[in-house]
C-alpha cells in the first residue's frame, strides 16, 4: 500500500497535496451521504422511543424519557420476546451451521456431480423468505398439504406444524433452515476448497486418522469462514420478521413473538409508536454489540491471514 501512496503523491504533487489527502474522502463520501440520509430516521426513532406516542391519543404525546424502556423492563412479555428471539437465533444458527458444514464436506471433491448439486442448492436462497413461508404454509396445511400427508403416512397423526406451541418453533426453524443453509454451505464449501493442500497431504503420508485430521486441521483452518457464516446468520436471525410473521403472526399464543414481529404489531396495528421504537432500539443495541464483536474479530483475523499468507 505504501507504494501506491508514493505513486499517488508523486502524481498529486502536480495537483497539490490537499487533493491527495481529500481523495479517499471524496471517493467514499457519496456512499456515506446516502447512508447518512438513513441516519436521520434513526435519530427520529430514538426521539420516538423517548416519548409516549400513540397515534390514537394525539393529545398525550409527550417526552417520558426512559419511561418506555422502564415499562418494557417491567413487562414479562418483553423478556419473553428476548428469550424467544435468542432461542430462535440459537436454533437456526446451530442447525444451519452443522447442516451446512456437513453438506460442504460431502461436496468437497471437485467433480461434475458435486458442482451440479452446488448449483441446485442455490435455489432456496433465491426464494424470498416471505414467499418461502407461504410455500411451507401450503405444504403443511392439515387438509391438502403434501407434507401433512407424508407425515401421516409415517404414522404421526395430526402433526400441528405451526398451529401448536410445541411444534411452531420447530416449523419456523425448519423453514429458516431450508432458506438459509445453502448460504452457509456455499461459504464453507469455498473455504474448504481454498484450504492449502500441504497439511492434508502430510497427514495422509503420516497415516493420521481421518477424525484427527478433521478436528485438528480442517476445523481450525475453517474457523474464519465458520465465524463469518455464523455471525452473519446470527445477526439476521435476531431480526427475523418475514418468515415468522407470514406463518403465525407471532402465535400461537406468545410462542413466536420475536423482536421485529412484536415491533411491527405495536407500530402498524396498535399505533403505539413510542413503545415500538423503544423495542427496536433495544434490538438495535443488541445487534450493534454483536456486530462490533464480529467486525473487530474479522479485522483481526484478516490481519492475521495477511500475515500468514
Amino acid at each position: 500500500m505504501a507504494d501506491v501512496q508514493t505513486a499517488v503523491s508523486a502524481g498529486a504533487k502536480r495537483k497539490g497535496i490537499s487533493f491527495q489527502r481529500a481523495l479517499p474522502y471524496l471517493l467514499s463520501l457519496p456512499a456515506l451521504l446516502v447512508c447518512i440520509g438513513i441516519l436521520i430516521p434513526f435519530v427520529t426513532a430514538i426521539i420516538y422511543a423517548l416519548q409516549r406516542y400513540n397515534l390514537a391519543f394525539p393529545d398525550s404525546r409527550a417526552f417520558i424519557w426512559f419511561g418506555n424502556f422502564v415499562n418494557l423492563a417491567r413487562d414479562p412479555a418483553f423478556w419473553h420476546t428476548v428469550v424467544v428471539s435468542l432461542e430462535y437465533t440459537a436454533l437456526t444458527v446451530g442447525v444451519e451451521l452443522l447442516l451446512g458444514l456437513g453438506i460442504a464436506l460431502l461436496l468437497q471433491e471437485r467433480n461434475w456431480v458435486n458442482d451440479a448439486i452446488s448449483v441446485l442448492l442455490i435455489l432456496p436462497l433465491m426464494v424470498a423468505p416471505a414467499i418461502a413461508a407461504l410455500m411451507w404454509k401450503l405444504m403443511t396445511n392439515p387438509n391438502f398439504g403434501v407434507l401433512s400427508y407424508l407425515v401421516s403416512l409415517a404414522g404421526v397423526k395430526d402433526f400441528k406444524w405451526g398451529s401448536a406451541p410445541s411444534s411452531a418453533m420447530f416449523t419456523v426453524v425448519l423453514v429458516d433452515t431450508w432458506v438459509y443453509t445453502p448460504f452457509i454451505t456455499i461459504l464453507l464449501l469455498a473455504g474448504l476448497r481454498a484450504l492449502p493442500k500441504q497439511p492434508f497431504e502430510a497427514a495422509e503420508l503420516d497415516g493420521v486418522p481421518r477424525t484427527f485430521v478433521f478436528f485438528r486441521i480442517t476445523l481450525p483452518m475453517l474457523t474464519p469462514y465458520i465465524l463469518t457464516a455464523s455471525l452473519f446468520r446470527m445477526l439476521d436471525s435476531m431480526q427475523q420478521f418475514d418468515i415468522i410473521y407470514s406463518m403465525t403472526q407471532g402465535g400461537p399464543g406468545d410462542t413466536l413473538t420475536v423482536f421485529q414481529v412484536q415491533a411491527y404489531l405495536e407500530a402498524f396495528s396498535f399505533s403505539n409508536i413510542g413503545r415500538s421504537a423503544a423495542l427496536v432500539i433495544v434490538l438495535w443495541a443488541i445487534t450493534y454489540a454483536l456486530s462490533t464483536v464480529f467486525i473487530k474479530n474479522w479485522l483481526k483475523l484478516r490481519a492475521r491471514a495477511h500475515g500468514t499468507t
Binding site: 390514537a56 394525539p58 396445511n141 387438509n143 400441528k160 398451529s163 410445541s166 402465535g251 400461537p252 399464543g253
Partner: protein
C-alpha cells in the same frame, strides 16, 4: 330496441306508474336483460340523485383516489363506477390491497398524513383509532348539508343499528351512536354472524341443526368423532382481532356478557367474571372436541374453504362467508343452508355482532367534497340495490334493498338466508365497548384464547391474567 321506449319505461317506473317487476318484464320484451335494466335503472337513478339539490358536476375533470380492500364489495362498486363518473365528471382511480395487509396499509397511509387517498374502506373498529387520532372526517357535516347531499339520499334508510355502530363520540365507555357521536364512516355492506351448515353431512349422520351453544358443542363433537374425515364446526382462531369479533362475540353477548364495564367512571375489563369464565370453558371445549385441527392458524379463508370443500359440517361465522361457499365452483355448492343462532339456551333471540365495511374520508384529502360525492353515491340506494342484485354487495345495509323482489329471489337458492337475516337484524349491532386500544386488546384476547386452547394455562388463571394486563394498559393511557 328503441331507446326512447326504454326511457319511457324507466320514467314510468320512477313516477310509480309501474312496479319493478312489470318494468323488468316489459324491458325483457323489448330485448333488454335484467342486468342491463339494472344498469340503465341505475343510470337514471343516478340522474335522479343528480337532479336533487347539489351541483354534482362541480369538480368535473378533477380526480379522486380511493384505497380499497380486495373484496367483492369493491368489485361491486367498480362494476357500477361508470355511472358515478358520468354523473360527476370525476376521474376515479383506486389502489387495491389484499386484506392480509390492507388494514396495516391504511394505518400507514393515514399516519403519513398523505393527501394521496381521499376515501377508503374501513371497519367500525378501525375508526375508533382513526377518529380520535384526528385522521378521518366527521361526516355528519356533509350528511346534514343539503348543498352537498341530495334529498333522495335517504340516510335513514340505512339500518339504525348500522348507522349507530359507525358513530362514536370518542369517550371511553360511551355508547355507540349516542348523543354527541361523530359519524366516522358510512356503512357500505355488512356481515352478521350466524350458523351455516351442510345439509348433506348433517343428513348423513342424522343430526338436526343445533339449537343453542351447548347443543352445538355436543353435536360438533359427535360429528368430529364420526371419523369420516370432517369435523363439526369451523370458527376462527388466528392471533388477531378477527378471531374475537365473529361467532365468538356474538355468542358471548347472547349470554349477556360484556368485554368492559364502567366501574367508578373508569373502564374495567369484564372477561374474568364467573359467567365469562364458564363461557370461555365451553367455547374452548367446543373447539377441542369439534373444531378444526389447526385452529390457531384459522382465518376467514380457512373457515370458509373447509365448509366449501366438505371438510366441516358447520361454521359459526359471517353469513356472507357461508354465502360465498354456496356459489362458484366449490365442492359443496347447493348443499349449504343458513339459520339464525341463539347461543344462550335462556335467550329468545339471536344477538349477532356485526362487521360493517364502511367508507371513510381522510382528513388530509384535498378533495373532501368530491370524496363525499363518491361516498354518497356508493352508499346510496341505487348503488346498494345494483350491487345486491347484480354483484355481491351483500348483506346490503339499507332496509329498502332487502325488500327488493329481485334480491329476495336471488336469495332463494340459499335456503334460510333471508330468514336468518330477518330474525337477527333487530338485535344486530356492534357489541364491543368502543375504545382506542381495540386492536391491541383483541389481539391479546385472541392470544390468550390460543394459550388456553393449547392448555398452556388454565382458563380461570388465563382470563384473570388477561384482565389484569388490559387494566394496566388502560390506566397507562389514562382511560
Amino acid at each position: 330496441m328503441s331507446s326512447r321506449k326504454q326511457k319511457e319505461l324507466i320514467r314510468a317506473y320512477y313516477e310509480n306508474k309501474i312496479g319493478r317487476r312489470e318494468l323488468l318484464e316489459r324491458m325483457a320484451k323489448i330485448g333488454v336483460g335484467a342486468a342491463a335494466t339494472g344498469f340503465l335503472l341505475n343510470a337514471t337513478a343516478t340522474k335522479t340523485l343528480a337532479a336533487g339539490g347539489p351541483d354534482f358536476k362541480k369538480f368535473k375533470g378533477k380526480s379522486i383516489k380511493l384505497l380499497m380492500n380486495k373484496h367483492p364489495y369493491n368489485d361491486a362498486i367498480m362494476k357500477n363506477l361508470d355511472n358515478f363518473k358520468s354523473m360527476t365528471g370525476l376521474n376515479v382511480t383506486s389502489d387495491v390491497f389484499p386484506e392480509d395487509v390492507y388494514f396495516d396499509k391504511v394505518t400507514t397511509a393515514l399516519a403519513s398524513k398523505g393527501s394521496q387517498y381521499d376515501a377508503f374502506m374501513t371497519g367500525a373498529y378501525q375508526t375508533w383509532k382513526y377518529g380520535p387520532a384526528r385522521q378521518i372526517v366527521d361526516l355528519n357535516q356533509f350528511i346534514k348539508d343539503p348543498k352537498v347531499t341530495s334529498p333522495t339520499y335517504n340516510w335513514n334508510d340505512v339500518t339504525a343499528g348500522l348507522r349507530a355502530s359507525d358513530a362514536w363520540d370518542g369517550k371511553a365507555g360511551s355508547q355507540l351512536g349516542g348523543p354527541g357521536a361523530k359519524q366516522w364512516a358510512i356503512p357500505l355492506g355488512f356481515e352478521l354472524n350466524n350458523i351455516a351448515y351442510n345439509k348433506r353431512i348433517l343428513g348423513e349422520l342424522g343430526i338436526e341443526p343445533p339449537k343453542n351453544l351447548p347443543d352445538l358443542i355436543e353435536k360438533a363433537a359427535k360429528i368430529s368423532a364420526a371419523g369420516k374425515g370432517y369435523y363439526g364446526v369451523g370458527v376462527r382462531g388466528s392471533r388477531s382481532w378477527a378471531t374475537i369479533h365473529p361467532g365468538f362475540l356474538s355468542a358471548y353477548s347472547n349470554y349477556g356478557l360484556k368485554d368492559f364495564t364502567m366501574k367508578g367512571g373508569k373502564l374495567t375489563p369484564a372477561m374474568n367474571t364467573k359467567e365469562s369464565k364458564e363461557f370461555h370453558k365451553m367455547w374452548i371445549d367446543m373447539i377441542q372436541r369439534g373444531g378444526p385441527k389447526n385452529w390457531t392458524s384459522y382465518t376467514w379463508y380457512e373457515v370458509g374453504n373447509d365448509l366449501g370443500a366438505g371438510n366441516s359440517a358447520m361454521i359459526f361465522d359471517a353469513d356472507i362467508l357461508g354465502y360465498f361457499q354456496n356459489s362458484g365452483d366449490t365442492k359443496e355448492k347447493g348443499n349449504l343452508a343458513y339459520m339464525p343462532f341463539t347461543a344462550n339456551p335462556a335467550a329468545t333471540k339471536p344477538t349477532p355482532n356485526v362487521w360493517i365495511w364502511s367508507l371513510a374520508m381522510s382528513q388530509f384529502s384535498k378533495m373532501k367534497e368530491a370524496a363525499w360525492f363518491f361516498i354518497q353515491w356508493a352508499t346510496g340506494t341505487e348503488n346498494c340495490t345494483f350491487g345486491a342484485v347484480n354483484a355481491d354487495l351483500i348483506d346490503p345495509v339499507r332496509d329498502s334493498t332487502w325488500k327488493v323482489p329481485e334480491f329476495q329471489k336471488r336469495l332463494e337458492s340459499y335456503p334460510g338466508y333471508l330468514n336468518q337475516f330477518q330474525k337477527s337484524i333487530g338485535q344486530s349491532q356492534i357489541y364491543f365497548t368502543p375504545q382506542q386500544l381495540f386492536p391491541e386488546f383483541t389481539t391479546d384476547w385472541a392470544a390468550m384464547l390460543q394459550q388456553m386452547y393449547a392448555k398452556e394455562i388454565p382458563v380461570d388463571e388465563g382470563l384473570d391474567k388477561l384482565a389484569a394486563g388490559l387494566q394496566r394498559k388502560l390506566r397507562e393511557v389514562g382511560i
